[in-house]
Structure formats: C-alpha cells, structure tokens
C-alpha cells in the first residue's frame, strides 16, 4: 500500500498551478474555497436583485422596475439566494471542515467532489442568463407554481434545467458527505464523539438525498406539461395545480431545514469555544437535530393552508408544525445553558452566534404563529411571511455563515481578520437587518401583499424604512468582502490556536493555516 500512497499524493503535491489548479483539483480545501467564493458571488447577484426590489418599493407607484421585471427580480432573488448562495456556502463549509473535524485525509469521492462544484457555475450561468433571453427570466415566484410556470417562455426552461443541475450537484455533494462521515472517521472518533457541525451535516445530507430527487421529479413534470402535452397540473386533463404545490413543498419544507441545520452545527461549535465550556446536552442536541429532520418531512402542507385541503389535513399539518418548536427549543435551551456561567468573550464569531440565537428565535416564533391555520389565512402571502423567513434565512442561516467564516478564517488562511472591522460588520448587519425586516411584520399584519411592485399609500412609511435598512445591509456586506480580502492578503499572522476554548481536531491537531494535505495518517481520538 505504501507505493499507492506515494503515487496518489505525489501527484497532488505537484498539482497544476494557476487556473488549472482550481479546475482540476481533487483537494477538499480547494473545492471548499471555490464553493465559498461561488456562493459569495451569487450572494452579491441575489443581493443586487434585492436592492432592485427595495428600490422599487421605496415609494408607492412604479418608479424603476416595470411589474414584469419586478416579478423576475423577486423570482430570481429567491432562487439565487436559496440554491446559489446559502446551500453552496454550507457545502463549502462541509468540504473544508468535515474532513478536518473527523480526521480524514480528504472527502470520500474526491473527483466527484470537484464535479459537484463545477456544476454550480453552469447552473448559475443558465439562471442569470435567463434575464437576457426573449421573454425574460422566470417570473412566477421562486416556488414556480403552475399555471404561471407552465406559461412563460425560454427563461422558465432555463430555470428548470438549472434546477436539475443544481439538484444533481446537491445529490453528489450529499452522498459524498454521508460516505465521508460514515466511512472515514479517524480511529476512536465514534459517532457520538463527532463535533456537532459534522452531526448536523450528516442529517442534512440525508434530507438532501431524500428530497432533491423529488424536486427533480416535479420540475420534470412541469417540463413535460410545458412542452410534451402532459396534464399533471392541468385540471382539464385530470391533473391538479395544487398537486404541484404538494410535491414541491415535500421538497421545499425539508429544504428550509437543509438551510438551517448546518447553521445550528456552526453555532454549536462557536458557543462552547467562546464560553469555554463543553456544549451543554450534546446527545440531546443530536436527537433534537434528528427529530427536526424527521418532523420536517411531514409538515409541508402548512405552506398551502389557503390552497384548499380537508380540515383534518389542516389540523394535522398545523400540529405537526408546532411540534417542531419542541426540539428547536431544546437546542436554544442548550446553547443558552452552554453560555450559563461560562467565561465568555465576545469576538466577532461569538457576536454573530449570539445574534443568530436572538434573531433566529424571533423567526422561529413567527413561524409558530404562521403555523396556526386561522392566523395563516390572514397573513398568507403578506409581508409577515417575508419577515418570518428572512429572520430564519438571513439572521439565521446567513449570520451563522458569517460566524463560521470569522471563526475558521485563521484556520483557512493562517491570518487573523481585523477584529474591530469584524465587530463593525456585526453591529451594522444587526442594525440594518432589523431595520429592513422588523417593520415588515407590521406591513404584513396590515395586509400588504408580497410580490407586488406597488402598494397603498398607508404602507409608505414602513416601506421607506425597510428600503433604507436594505440598502444599509447591502453596503455592509461589501465591508465583509473587504475584511475577508484584507485578512487573506495582509492579515496579521494567526497564532497556532487563536481560540483557546476550541477543542475540535482542526484546532488541536493541525497548524494554522491547515496544510494542503492533512491527516494522511489519521489521528487517534481518545
């Protein structure tokens, strides 16, 4: 075996330089880096679309975007942020961190790992280019319900194929993560000793292999309805447009947990480090994560309470949804209990993690409110729903990503970020985020509908506040870009272990930056 070993790694050590290094790489760190930069690029594109939406909504009336283009902006903003920014960012974290945290030399399928990444720019190209084809991009909302999505032109087809490709990428990525975690842990790293980030990603990957193929199936039916005369979503042929919603949300609801479980994992790494205490209730954390994942598969129809379903269905989906608050509450309790009597410090990762807990709980509670059928019938398709899911996706998923980037930047680059600027980034994000989205609760309760470029005069003040917040939030993210680039280029050299409370393998067994090949000999975990 020794010869084989030399052969494989001998090549790697003379990896191609320049662009070809990135194109052909089989190294989990290179691939993780590409995932992160790709997702940040898509985050800026999706953010640009959000700025367009908020600029149009700054005042009542039609100023900047005609309604057709406005609808394309909202649709592509959602698709790009969900599939292009948040999901790939978490896969980037998994690529970097899972092998380091379980003591593996690389991902289980290193070449396929490269393909999972390089499918993303293809899908991103199809999505973004759809703005420039005749008829423009898809405009039926990111959930692309028929009949709006069975109408529409070339842009909708480009979106359908982009979703297919993103799905293929996600499936390959998640199979890779499952196999890596199950088969490549260092000796002594039993399942119940794994860092919480690894656990949350294992469970997320199971959700992905469960629901991504269903998404592929439903967009395939959409495609054949559009071009081959089938009647899946056409009542005249015996089909049902509501069926699309059921199948879509069978994917779509687990999808929101796909975007939040790894966030829970990141926060569960950071809180113990900066509280200098082990995570409170480790095993209950694992079981809570698994319970959330299982429950997430039986709550999908709470997205469609107003679409028409039997009362018994509404009751089932309402109670099942509210049940998710229990394991989620366990997690929030455990994070709080971890901080209790800890010797805490508040570096940027910890600030974002605490900000995450605070704001995610608000988003979680508004979720429970939306789950109550009579209330949901009132707030369905209003800005209340927008506010709810931005509290879980922006101050939830995105804040945890920021926390994770600050936490692991020294490990990735060998340099420290600028702590002062990092704290500015946090406080500005915190302020502008709440300025943007908190007022949207009021707009929604007052009845302002989502996805409409114009509104009644009574909504004017809150919309202006929200837009100002959004512009501030957008600009703040350029500060983040600056902090990351200056950390890579000219950051102070990081100490070998910048966080003295960190206990996971990447901090205890590897230098900063982590070498190109790590754990060729697995560490022994006691």
């Amino acid at each position: 075996m020794a010869a084989v070993h030399g052969d494989a790694h001998g090549h790697d050590d003379h990896h191609p330089s320049g662009i070809m290094r990135w194109v052909t790489t089989t190294n989990h760190k290179d691939i993780g880096t590409m995932y992160l930069w790709f997702s940040f690029t898509m985050f800026l594109i999706g953010g640009f679309l959000a700025m367009g939406i908020r600029a149009e909504l700054y005042q009542p009336g039609i100023q900047i975007l005609q309604p057709e283009l406005f609808n394309q902006f909202t649709t592509l903003h959602g698709l790009i942020m969900v599939f292009g920014a948040i999901m790939p960012a978490f896969v980037g974290f998994a690529n970097w961190q899972v092998p380091l945290m379980i003591g593996a030399p690389d991902m289980a399928f290193a070449r396929m790992n490269n393909w999972s990444f390089w499918l993303l720019p293809v899908a991103g190209t199809l999505l973004v280019s759809s703005f420039f084809v005749p008829g423009g991009a898809a405009a039926g909302g990111w959930t692309f319900y028929p009949p709006l999505s069975t109408q529409g032109g070339l842009g909708v087809d480009l979106m359908i194929f982009a979703v297919h490709i993103l799905g293929a990428s996600s499936i390959m990525g998640s199979i890779n993560i499952i196999t890596t975690i199950l088969n490549m842990r260092a000796p002594g790293m039993t399942l119940m000793k794994m860092p919480m980030f690894v656990w949350t990603w294992l469970i997320t990957a199971y959700l992905l292999v469960l629901v991504m193929p269903v998404l592929a199936g439903v967009v395939t039916m959409l495609l054949t309805d559009r071009h081959f005369g089938t009647s899946f979503f056409n009542a005249a042929g015996g089909g049902d447009p509501v069926m699309f919603q059921h199948i879509f949300w069978f994917f779509g609801h687990p999808e929101v947990y796909i975007m939040i479980l790894p966030a829970f994992g990141i926060v569960s790494e950071i809180i113990p480090t900066f509280a200098r205490k082990p995570l409170f209730g480790y095993s209950s954390m694992v079981y809570a994560t698994a319970s959330i994942a299982i429950l997430s598969c039986v709550v999908w129809a709470h997205h469609m309470f107003t679409a028409g379903m039997p009362t018994v269905g509404q009751l089932f989906f309402m109670y099942a949804t509210m049940l998710i608050a229990v394991p989620t509450g366990v997690k929030v309790f455990n994070w709080t209990a971890t901080m209790w009597r800890g010797s805490m410090t508040f570096e940027t990762p910890m600030l974002f993690a605490i900000g995450f807990i605070f704001l995610f709980v608000i988003g979680g509670f508004s979720g429970v409110i939306c789950a109550i059928v009579p209330i949901d019938i009132q707030v369905q398709d209003t800005y209340y729903v927008i506010a709810h899911f931005h509290y879980v996706l922006v101050s939830g998923a995105l804040f945890s990503l920021f926390a994770g980037v600050y936490y692991w930047l020294p490990k990735w680059t060998g340099n420290m970020y600028n702590e002062t600027l990092g704290k500015w980034h946090f406080w500005l994000s915190m302020f502008f985020f709440n300025l943007t989205f908190f007022v949207q609760h009021f707009l929604g309760l007052a009845g302002m509908p989502r996805r409409i470029p114009d509104y009644n005069l009574q909504f004017a003040d809150f919309n202006m506040v929200s837009s100002i917040g959004a512009f501030g939030f957008g600009l703040t993210q350029l500060l983040f870009l600056y902090i990351v680039i200056s950390c890579i280029r000219s950051g102070e050299k990081s100490p070998e272990k910048p966080w003295d409370g960190a206990t996971t393998l990447e901090w205890t067994h590897l230098p900063c930056p982590a070498p190109y090949h790590s754990f060729e000999k697995p560490p022994i975990v006691k």
Partner: protein, 285 residues
C-alpha cells in the same frame, strides 16, 4: 477501522469533471433552446451529448484502471458501496415523485372533481364520471387503456428472469468460472434488450392502435412518465451490463474484489423492483 485508513486513495487532479460540466452546459442550454424550437439548440444538444459520452468513457475508464491496478483498498471499496447505495436511494425517491402524482390524481384530485358536495363536481364537471383510467374532464378523444396481461406480463417475466441470470453470473464470478460469468451476463443483456424492444413496440401500439398518447390526460401523462423513465433506466442499466461484460471479457474483476460488477447488479435489481411497482400500479390496478 482498517489499518489502511492512512492510505485512503485520493485521486490526482482530473480534467473529467470540468469536461462533464461543459457537456452539461451545452445540454442544458441546448435542451432549453430545442424545446422552444430554436434551431441552434439541436446543435448544442448534440455537442453536449458527444462531450458527455467522451467524459463517461474517460472517467469510468480511469476508475476501472485504478481499480485493476489495486489502488482501491477495503476502505475505498466500502465508500463505493455507501455511495452506490445512496445513489440508488435517490433514484427511488425520483420515482416516488411520479408514483405520488399517480396516487394523488387517482385517489384524491379526480374524485374531488366529481364530488357532488362541491362546486367543482356540481357545476363545472357535472357530465364527467371520473372513473380511472381517465383523460380528465376536458379531453374528449377516446382511447383504450393498456392491458396488463399481454406484453406487460411478458415484460415482467423478462425482467424477473434477468434478475436471476445476473445473480447466477455473480455466483460464477465468485467461483471464478469466467465462461459462466460471461455467458450469464450475455443472457442478462439479451433479456434487458428484449425488454426495451417490447416497450418500444408497446409505445408504437399505444400511439397507433389505442390512441393512447402523452396528451391523453392524467392516464397518458402518468403512463408515459412512469414507463418512460423506467425504460430509460433499463437502457442505462443495459449499457452498464454491456460495459461490465466487456470488462469481464478483458479479465477484470476477481472473486474477492469486484464492486464494479456488484454496483451494476444492485442497479439492475433496482430497475427490476421499480418495474414490479409499475406493473401493479400502472398496468394492473
């Protein structure tokens, strides 16, 4: 954990993934253009497929060579098993979406259309009886549904037999009887090819004699979607069987170490099981 865990085979940098992505870019944009009847699309689609085939030959060829030169230890072998297992699980979920659509239409949405206690059943579709197989209330072309006991039953027999023959081929491989291995593999390939031929004949029959088309409402949609994707998977499976036949003929695989063979056999059993679901829920019931 095996003692080889420090020597897990990490392949050298490779061009095949980016070649594959290029293929997918051509195919995705080509398919979108083709479906909107833009001439350029056909060319892009063709180029995409050509690149994809080149990539598949190159990539799988590399894996086969690496495997035959003994680079894959036990731990890599186990990775392949996990990987293939979960891949097949995703395929099962893909079919679940279509079976779910069939179930939803037959048992929920079409009965709702004729439910006299609702506005729909009373006013919109009052002349519609809603019995399965149906093309829906708005499609008035008559059609004949596909019977179960002719060709489909024969197809069931073909696929079930092919499940047996591929297992016998596996036994011969483990006994290191190479002639038997190749013979039984050939038999499996022949059964698979015959199945595809029968399905093609059935489609012609459906279009020409039964007036059963993709445009035949709910029944036509689910019939062609489910049997079409299954037939596509049988075709992929048959190509995979042909590949391992040639690998067997070239002396690949040992009685102890042959996951390439087993992965294909797993896949073949998967298409077999899906067919049983199809035979029961699409043809019989």
């Amino acid at each position: 954990m095996s003692q080889e865990s420090g020597h897990y085979y990490v392949p050298a940098p490779s061009m095949y993934p980016i070649i594959g992505s290029t293929a997918v870019l051509f195919m995705g944009s080509g398919a979108a253009l083709t479906m909107n009847k833009i001439e350029l699309g056909y060319g892009l689609l063709g180029i995409g497929f050509a690149i994809l085939i080149y990539m598949l030959f190159g990539w799988f060829g590399t894996v086969a060579r690496e495997s035959e030169s003994g680079k894959y230890g036990e731990q890599v072998d186990l990775s392949f098993r996990w990987g293939m297992g979960w891949f097949i699980f995703t395929e099962v979920m893909f079919f679940c979406a279509f079976f779910g659509a069939l179930f939803y239409m037959r048992n929920l949405s079409i009965p709702w259309l004729i439910d006299e206690s609702t506005v729909l059943g009373n006013e919109f579709w009052s002349s519609y009886d809603g019995t399965w197989p149906t093309a829906g209330p708005g499609v008035h072309e008559a059609f004949t549904p596909m019977g179960a006991w002719g060709l489909p039953a024969f197809n069931t027999l073909l696929l079930l037999t092919s499940g047996v023959t591929v297992t016998i081929a596996h036994w011969r491989l483990k006994e290191n009887r190479r002639d038997g291995l190749k013979l039984w593999l050939l038999a499996t390939i022949a059964l698979g090819a015959l199945f595809i031929g029968c399905q093609a004949y059935e489609y012609v029959h459906a279009y020409n004699d039964l007036n059963l088309k993709m445009t035949t409402g709910a029944y036509g949609s689910t019939f062609f979607m489910l049997t079409g994707f299954h037939g596509f998977h049988v075709t992929i499976g048959t190509i995979m069987l042909i590949v391992i036949y040639f690998r067997s003929a070239a002396g690949h695989f040992t009685p102890e170490h042959h996951f390439g063979f087993e992965g294909v056999a797993w896949y073949w059993h998967f298409v077999d099981v899906v067919w049983l679901g199809l035979f029961i829920f699409v043809y019989l019931m």
